[in-house]
């Protein structure tokens, strides 16, 4: 009997109050195609290649990223320019193989390759997923993302 009274007069109103309270809270829905979620600073999305201020490639085609890649997704062919500096003639990432682990950006001694915040690149054509050097350069974000600064700081420590 005490149980019944406790249920009816304490537990039930408590439950109803809880749901009523939540009725007036702000919905957490993000209306995805219209509104996009702000990604975490270290989110690993589509790759991009960084350049020096004068526009020359940072990448020297050392092959460390390809060696670090656990999915074996990176293919590169190096060449030398007229000043005798090495650069990547071909730099391709197979986005279907890539597991977005970020080992390439960790391995890169020149701070050339980074994983950006882009994540909408689905397609129904498999050939599109061979991500070329030109595309990766074009994918560079306009503003420097704070996570890059974090990575640089980490580099300086170790």
């Amino acid at each position: 009997m005490v149980d019944v009274i406790r249920t009816v007069f304490i537990a039930l109103p408590k439950g109803f109050y809880t749901t009523l309270k939540h009725l007036f809270k702000k919905p957490v829905t993000i209306q995805y195609p219209k509104v996009k979620r702000e990604m975490a600073p270290r989110y690993r999305g589509l790759h991009y290649l960084e350049v020096y201020e004068d526009g020359t490639d940072r990448c020297v085609c050392c092959g460390l990223c390809a060696a670090a890649c656990p999915a074996d997704a990176i293919y590169m062919e190096g060449a030398e320019n007229e000043k005798g500096e090495r650069y990547a003639k071909i730099y391709e990432i197979n986005l279907l193989r890539c597991i977005y682990c970020g080992f390439c950006e960790e391995a890169c001694p020149e701070e050339a390759i980074f994983l950006g915040h882009e994540y909408e690149f689905s397609n129904d054509n498999r050939d599109v997923f061979i991500f070329t050097k030109e595309q990766m350069l074009a994918n560079r974000p306009k503003k420097e993302k704070p996570f890059k600064r974090i990575i640089r700081r980490v580099r300086r420590i170790f």
Partner: protein
């Protein structure tokens, strides 16, 4: 008034009420999705029209154009009949609900009720309990174990709760001394005359039993989606499914209308026109229904039966006895 005039007025009233009820059903689904969404920190439908107000229309179009799949091992006739048996009684109970006072239109005195039966309340209860046949038939004729279980559960539940459901309003009838819905409204002319204040226990019992009768959460065992897929309407698709769907919401609306009429003073209220007051009260009752759904978990079968027979039934009897002792001795 001549016979033709009476016929004409009645037909117009019937058409208006049926259309209003169907629209009401459509917008109850909108209200439910919107409210349950907000209860769960979501926003509910918001793409079709402002606040998703065109969503019911989109749903209706979708349901009409869906393929009507009839499984191989169904009992064809009963399978086709069942949705109609659910749908029609749900609409019928609106025949005696008074939506407002007498109005004068085009020189005619028009009563805002399709038919003011002397046995209005009894009619509502008789008609709403017919709906269980449709559910049982649907469950049985589908030839699916989920449907059958849903149908069996539904019949057991509705028969058990029918008793307390009927008894819950006896208190009101004892006080009022009438079964006519119009007369009942007339007796609640001032706010504190509302039967909810004179019969609080009766009202609570009525609400609980009504929820069980309409198979709504937390008494939605017949269509428990986590156990029985969708219960009795598992094998239905397209418009047949829509009939069950509309039937369920029409039942909810009917229950809300009856609750408004019997306990909440019907169409009476200050300032606003009667029909608006009626709509507001029904909408609030429907919102309460949805609030219940968002709050309470489904009962287990034995809990349901124990609750119905060991708690509600004796309470309802006691309520009738006490009321009779106070008001009629």
């Amino acid at each position: 008034m001549s016979y033709t005039e009476i016929m004409l007025i009645s037909s117009i009233k019937v058409i208006v009420v049926v259309l209003a009820v169907l629209t009401g059903c459509a917008y109850s689904t909108w209200l439910e999705r919107k409210l349950v969404g907000h209860f769960q920190h979501r926003i509910g439908p918001n793409v079709a029209g402002p606040f998703g107000l065109l969503q019911p229309i989109a749903d209706a179009i979708k349901l009409v154009f869906k393929e009507d799949i009839v499984p191989n091992n169904v009992e064809r006739i009963t399978y086709a009949l069942a949705p109609i048996v659910v749908f029609i009684p749900a609409l019928l109970s609106f025949a005696v609900v008074p939506f407002g006072d007498k109005v004068t239109m085009f020189g005619y005195q028009i009563d805002m009720v399709i038919s003011d039966l002397d046995i209005g309340v009894l009619f509502v209860f008789a008609v709403t309990s017919l709906g269980v046949y449709g559910i049982v038939l649907a469950g049985w004729s589908s030839g699916s174990k989920y449907s059958l279980l849903g149908g069996v559960r539904s019949s057991a539940q509705m028969i058990s709760y029918e008793v307390a459901y009927g008894l819950s309003i006896i208190g009101v009838l004892v006080i009022a001394g009438t079964l006519s819905m119009k007369e009942l409204v007339a007796q609640q002319s001032s706010f504190f005359d509302w039967f909810i204040f004179r019969q609080p226990v009766g009202f609570v019992l009525y609400v609980i039993c009504a929820i069980a009768e309409t198979n709504r959460a937390p008494f939605d065992l017949p269509e428990a989606e986590s156990e029985l897929v969708a219960g009795y309407h598992t094998e239905y698709s397209s418009m047949r499914f829509a009939m069950f769907f509309i039937g369920e919401y029409a039942n909810m609306l009917a229950v809300s209308c009856v609750a408004t009429t019997i306990f909440l003073g019907g169409w009476q209220g200050p300032l606003l026109p009667p029909i608006i007051w009626f709509a507001i009260k029904v909408a609030l009752f429907m919102s309460f229904y949805i609030w219940l759904r968002a709050t309470l978990p489904r009962l287990r079968y034995d809990q349901l039966m124990n609750f119905g027979w060991k708690v509600l039934f004796p309470l309802a009897l006691l309520n009738v006895m006490v009321t009779a002792l106070i008001y009629r001795l």
